[in-house]
């Protein structure tokens, strides 16, 4: 340890680490012990669905909050993960060399060739982990290298989500069309109709979410995390220090895509259906609102925000179908316009934040700044921008 590492910062770092550990402990107890005890199996299943959304939110928090990339097309990666899983489950239900029920119904040509590899569970699992990340990496490198960013990137990713949904709907023999894929009997050999197995799926989702949070926390406090924030705040400047911001951003984008893919893959057995309605433009933007409300730059904010918004949607829409739309619109409007740091930036959680902040340098910067709303300059307009290349 260097003499320059001040005693104060060391102490606060230690305290921050404890705060994070305690936070994880509490979350684990809530998810693994309290929730299953107090919720009916139906409500527990709903919570499992929210956790899948939360997984996507963790990734969005990293890419958008930390990396400044407004990812409006996460539904694509969520959808890839989900459809991969759904294809495997349909093929597994159909048995060796069998044809899934919906396909047999509307097509006589049998299983398309590109479905075949997903008869294997292992291939499917690997594909779920790799394909969304790979697609994001290719897209990211292509667009970020060409310095397509800010609004351009946002609108392109949105167009991607639109195209993906159109493709899914337009190919019903391979994708189930607008219905999507559903009616799954088993999950890697376990019956999905057995409540015990359904609860197990919930536990898996909870565990995966916690693991993701740990991974993202590690990324956030690492040197890479600092570099990512630097890219968000001033991409050009990073370039002049000898880094390629395209690579830095692509990594965060790919990680976010992978998390969205995993969220989608778990969504399928938990909810029992995946349809184009879950992956298009509207759900893709919907995924952002929880992140915005919870606090896009924080670790826990996106997760809590996503769960809270999904919960509010279920319970509010039960009572006021049209009221929910107004509420959703208002939340977007008010939170983003007046509270860009999300609820995490409110005074009430400030004390807690300060503790976490100590372990998390960027948050420390924000809090010390006295600015309740750290606003990432997502589309920096540089004084030194010079001519556009």
């Amino acid at each position: 340890m260097s003499e320059f590492d001040t005693a104060a910062s060391r102490v606060s770092a230690l305290r921050g680490r404890w705060a994070v550990l305690v936070g994880f402990g509490v979350a684990a107890v809530l998810l693994f012990a309290v929730a299953p005890a107090v919720l009916t199996s139906f409500r527990l299943g709903l919570l499992g669905k929210y956790l899948c959304y939360a997984m996507v939110a963790v990734g969005i928090g990293l890419a958008w909050g930390r990396g400044g990339m407004l990812v409006l097309g996460q539904g694509v990666f969520f959808g890839i993960g989900a459809y991969l899983m759904a294809m495997h489950l349909k093929l597994a239900d159909a048995g060796a060399d069998g044809v899934p029920d919906f396909m047999a119904l509307i097509s006589s040509s049998g299983v398309p060739g590109w479905w075949e590899p997903f008869r294997s569970g292992w291939v499917t699992l690997v594909a779920i982990l790799v394909l969304p990340a790979l697609l994001a990496a290719l897209l990211g490198l292509a667009t970020f290298r060409r310095r397509v960013r800010g609004a351009y990137f946002a609108i392109l990713s949105q167009a991607l989500a639109a195209a993906f949904a159109i493709l899914l709907i337009g190919n019903p023999t391979a994708t189930g069309g607008s219905t999507g894929l559903n009616n799954f009997v088993g999950f890697f050999g376990f019956s999905l109709r057995d409540p015990v197995n359904r609860q197990m799926l919930y536990f898996i989702a909870a565990g995966v979410l916690l693991a993701m949070l740990l991974l993202v926390r590690q990324l956030m406090v690492s040197r890479y995390g600092e570099l990512l924030v630097a890219c968000r705040d001033s991409e050009e400047r990073v370039r002049f220090l000898g880094y390629d911001p395209a690579t830095v951003k692509t990594v965060a984008f790919a990680v976010a895509a992978m998390m969205a893919g995993i969220g989608g893959a778990l969504f399928v057995p938990i909810v029992g259906i995946i349809s184009p309605n879950d992956v298009g433009i509207v759900p893709s933007i919907g995924l952002l609102i929880g992140v915005a409300i919870g606090g896009r730059t924080t670790l826990a904010g996106p997760v809590l925000g996503a769960i809270a918004v999904a919960w509010a949607e279920t319970s509010l829409s039960e009572q006021f179908p049209s009221g929910w739309t107004y509420a959703q619109g208002l939340m977007f409007m008010l939170v983003v316009a007046f509270l860009p740091g999300g609820l995490a930036s409110l005074g009430a959680v400030r004390g807690l934040r300060r503790k976490i902040a100590a372990a998390d340098p960027t948050v420390a910067a924000e809090t010390a700044d006295g600015d309740p709303a750290p606003v990432p300059a997502t589309e920096p307009r540089h004084a030194h921008g010079g001519a556009q290349a």
Binding site: L21, F24, A28, T40, S41, F42, R43, L46, K49, F102, A104, L105, I106, I166, I169, G170, P172, G177, S178, T179, G180, N182, N183, F184, V185, G186, G189, F190, S191, R193, D194, P195, V196, N197, R198, M200, F203, I204, G207, V208, L210, A211, L214, L215, R217, Q218, V271, G272, I273, I274, S275, N277, D278, T314, S317, E318, P321, S322, W324, T325
Partner: protein
């Protein structure tokens, strides 16, 4: 101090999850019975019984499904006023399907497992029905589905009170054939109902010497029909068979008129346009065009006159009634008939009693087919009048027995599977 606490705890969490997953296994797929089926939690001990209405009250389908919800409500009010079912008042639990299959599945699950309703009424799109089907089957509950659909389905747990293909599409083709149509152009939205319907139409056409001159699909929500209508015009078929859905119909018919095509030069027979859609398309743009359904507001019968009058009294004199609304209204009465025949609200009892239950519906007498859970109904071809209502032009010879898999039509043998 440990160097990688995060990594270590991640590993711990992974092991924990894996451990849990391995330790507490539920039943495997191949176990006998495939796991425990949930016990029904329907409570019939009091003087009321719960039923669920599941319709899209928000989103793109709310346009149509709100009217279905209203007719269900009307039927429930009437039944309650007349003493309820088996002496029990109906208590409605309404849920919003939000025009999304996933939400339909989730809300169906909630109605069955959380609210413990005796039966669920609703759904509109095929997607919503297909999304709900496994939920009803795995919980052994009942759904009454009120909309015409593409057939090739039957479930112990669903009663289909709208038309299947042999009660709507095939009669429509019979009508066109009788009118001397020898060539057709098929236009539809790019999803399962139009695609399946067009497969049936092509098989029928082949067997009956009708030429299919073209087949075009537009994505749902497509707004510019210039190219498609130009193709239709240039193909020069005798008639168009239209399975477009929703807003696309408006853009299609406006373009159709703009290019100078009319019901006289090239009629467009539609199977998804009912009374309440006519206003949005514009009567001018669609007057004189044929449609195929099993019910129109203009049907002259005491049952229908009462239904229309009651509906307008409850929801406004400017409201119209349409086929899916009538089918929904009818579905609640059919359920009542089944329950009363069975003397029980229990699902197996209702299923067993279903066959032959009949009702004097606004569309005419309908009878439940206990084998495939569809109902026998009369097919009607109507023409859109200048007042925006639809007038019966042609009718089948009495109620047609439902045949969702088209087993009684030799030319359709290659379609399913």
């Amino acid at each position: 101090m440990s160097r990688f606490p995060a990594r270590r705890s991640a590993a711990t969490a992974a092991v924990l999850v894996l451990g849990l997953a391995l330790s507490a296994c539920g039943s495997r797929v191949d176990d006998a019975g495939g796991g425990a089926t949930a016990e029904s939690c329907v409570d019939t001990s009091g003087d009321s019984v719960k039923i669920g209405f599941l319709n899209s009250r928000s989103g793109t389908m709310a346009i149509s499904e709100n009217t279905v919800f209203n007719s269900l409500e009307l039927a429930a009010t009437q039944i309650n006023a007349a003493g309820g079912v088996l002496g029990k008042q109906l208590e409605i639990v309404a849920e919003d399907g939000a025009s999304e299959p996933t939400v339909f599945a989730e809300k169906a699950d909630k109605l069955i497992r959380d609210d413990c309703v005796a039966a669920v009424f609703g759904g509109w799109t095929s997607s919503s029905r297909k999304a709900m089907l496994p939920v009803f089957e795995s919980n052994d509950a009942l759904l009454f589905y009120p909309v015409q659909y593409e057939g090739l389905e039957s479930s112990e747990n669903i009663f289909y009170t709208g038309a299947t293909t042999n009660q709507q599409i095939i009669p429509a083709l019979d009508y066109l054939k009788e009118s001397g149509v020898t060539s057709l152009f098929l236009v539809g939205s790019d999803y399962v109902f139009p695609q399946t319907a067009n497969k049936i139409i092509k098989a029928y056409a082949e067997a009956n010497g009708i030429e299919v001159k073209g087949e075009e699909y537009a994505p749902l929500g497509h707004t510019d029909f210039a190219t498609i209508v130009a193709k239709v015009r240039d193909a020069g078929a005798a008639a168009v068979f239209n399975t477009l859905n929703g807003d696309s119909n408006v853009a299609f018919f406006k373009e159709y008129k703009n290019l100078g095509l009319t019901a006289e030069t090239m009629p467009v027979l539609s199977v998804s346009i009912a009374e309440e859609e006519v206003g949005g398309i514009g009567v001018d743009n669609i007057v004189g065009q044929p449609v195929a359904w099993n019910y129109y507001q203009t049907i002259a019968s005491p049952a229908n006159e009462k239904f229309v009058a009651d509906f307008k009294a409850a929801y406004g004199a400017e409201k119209v009634t349409s086929d899916p609304m009538e089918a929904a209204y009818t579905s609640l009465y059919l359920w009542k008939g089944m329950v009363e025949k069975a003397g029980s609200f229990a699902v197996p009892d209702v299923q067993a009693a279903a066959d032959g239950v009949s009702f004097e519906a606004p569309e005419g007498t309908v009878t439940v087919n206990g084998e495939n859970h569809h109902i026998a109904k009369t097919a009607l071809i109507g023409k859109i009048g200048a007042d925006g209502l639809i007038y019966t032009e042609w009718s089948s010879d009495g109620p047609i027995e439902p045949d969702p898999y088209l087993k009684s039509y030799p030319w359709a043998s290659g379609l399913a599977g």
